[in-house]
Symmetry: C2
Subunit: 341 residues, 2 copies
């Protein structure tokens, strides 16, 4: 076996407020040897996701916090370069949770094999990965859109939002996307087929914009963002509206408790339902969701866009940019040659 050098991106300190390169550092060490039942994976793509911000604090959340001094957590897509498992061979493309490092060891039980002929391996981190499955189950199981419903989704050009809106279109809905630039708004209407786009950075009155875009009220609201956009959406819920809380990125960098209007009365008046959703709760049905998403992608009914940054050293700034909506599509970092294409 060739001795590999493992370049790792280590968390140096928990950020207060916005994360940035200053909270990370690269260290190099010889790659570990895989033990029994383990494999060594050369990472090709790192996934950068908003949920990671929640890990960068010591307090409890739905998962253990990222530890200072350890490799930054995250899912990767890569290639097996050494295997002590009879389930995987050198050259297999896989997705696994190896974090931000070039050569990590993984237990074969925690690895998912990828088929590069079905879809590019990068999609395993986006439209066919956790974000796509979040959109799939969050939309169909939590929002339960019916043909004729009006569905609103924010962060609408992102990895989750773009799939939410397209599944809603397949479901026969009137789909309104909220995004942060004219370019993104044009993308979701022209490319993805959303009915209406609202640019939250240039719209001075979100409530009026939503009233106009949703003349029959909002039946389904998929929320990745929270904050004032949600305040406006709650004002325009239709009777029996369903709200899925997938993310609250507007608050993730907050250093103080953000305040907003006490507006739960809207839920009473409209007999609306709000539910927090986390994709792992549908773990037992991932393969069903992935099979459907794969078919829709292959049929061209679901399109996806990736924003690929080059180089491990640029992962922290890509992460910082994601928290501010600077990405355009699923944020990835390529840290090795994609030999699968």
């Amino acid at each position: 076996m060739t001795a590999n050098t493992n370049r790792q991106m280590i968390l140096k300190a928990y950020p207060k407020g916005a994360p940035g390169p200053e909270h990370f550092e690269i260290v190099e060490e010889p790659a570990s040897e895989p033990g029994p039942g383990e494999v060594l994976v050369r990472a090709i793509y790192l996934s950068v996701d908003p949920y990671m911000r929640g890990r960068l604090r010591p307090g409890p959340s739905y998962a253990d916090p990222q530890k200072v001094g350890e490799v930054m957590v995250g899912e990767i897509a890569g290639e097996i370069v050494a295997s002590n498992s009879d389930r995987f061979a050198v050259g297999d493309y896989v997705a696994t949770h190896n974090g931000w490092q070039t050569h990590g060891v993984a237990d074969a039980r925690d690895i998912r094999k990828l088929d590069p002929t079905a879809a590019p391996i990068s999609t395993s981190l986006g439209v066919l990965g956790m974000p796509g499955l979040t959109a799939y189950f969050g939309t169909l199981e939590v929002l339960t859109p019916r043909a004729g419903d009006t569905l609103v989704v924010n962060a609408a050009s992102g990895a989750v939002g773009s799939v939410v809106g397209q599944i809603a279109k397949i479901s026969g809905c009137h789909v309104v996307g909220i995004a942060g630039s004219e370019e993104k708004c044009d993308f979701i209407t022209s490319e993805l087929g959303f009915d209406v786009a609202i640019n939250h950075r240039t719209t001075s009155d979100m409530s009026a914009a939503l009233r106009e875009a949703c003349p029959r009220g909002i039946d389904c609201y998929f929320d990745n963002v929270g904050g004032p956009i949600s305040d406006a959406a709650f004002e325009h819920m239709a009777l029996g509206a369903r709200v899925g809380i997938c993310g609250q990125i507007a608050q993730y960098n907050d250093t103080e408790q953000a305040m907003g209007p006490r507006n739960l009365r809207h839920f009473l008046v409209k007999r609306a339902t709000l539910r927090g959703l986390l994709v792992v709760d549908w773990r037992d049905r991932y393969e069903i969701g992935r099979a459907r998403l794969t078919r829709w992608v292959q049929e061209g009914r679901i399109k996806y866009r990736e924003d690929v940054v080059e180089g491990l050293e640029n992962a922290p700034s890509a992460f910082a940019g994601l928290m501010e909506g600077k990405n355009f599509g699923k944020q990835l970092v390529r840290i090795g040659q994609d030999t699968s294409r």
Copy 2:
């Protein structure tokens, strides 16, 4: 037919902030004659309920607003004194939506006959009426308590909250009630069998009090109040918690938009569900709910307490007091002799 004088409590003006006697006035007129299919009802008890505050503003809600210059809306229990319907006879005890007046005409289709031998007629406005049914369906259909769950309810000695907590006890739950006086707290634990009571007027740290009272977290939260009490409750939700928004009385008298912490992230982390509930959505099943509540009341498994004020002229102050939690039990106003007892 004897000519009856009808004393009516008229809304003079919409209150800004707290309602009070200055927003109402009494007028007298000869009682109307019932037309075909109608009856004339002598009111005995008026119901006073928090939802009425929502009617006292011109804006839209789930029901039409109360009009200025008209009789104050509300359900009453009374006795038929003239009938042009073959379904009702003079002397029948009934519940109907005649509003705050001594002698109102009602369509026989909008009347429910009461059986004074099954329970006192006043209970048709409380434990066996809209508040009891709200508690019944809100608890069992929205909160879906399972044996072993921890259920928290606020306004816990009130018409709705007291029934919520007792149904939760019947359901095998650990029940925590939040109420506004030592007397009320003593009542819900000693008389109604709640496990823990928290006095929100003397508890300086509601979050700490709930943590102590709910060591395994809150599975079910029945909210009549909103505001800071809910902020604290949301912090202590268990995984998969269910929240029913029945009322937000903390905000009903507000003249400006109240602000509070943006805390929907708790719903994401705990995959919790929040649902606004309005009893009319279970209209088709009222008789099922009422039959069960009646049996539980007759068996002594559900106890109730009524706070009866005497005289039509005191209805506005009773209403004002209700909005501040001055009542102790279901707020009623007796405006005629209860000949059913």
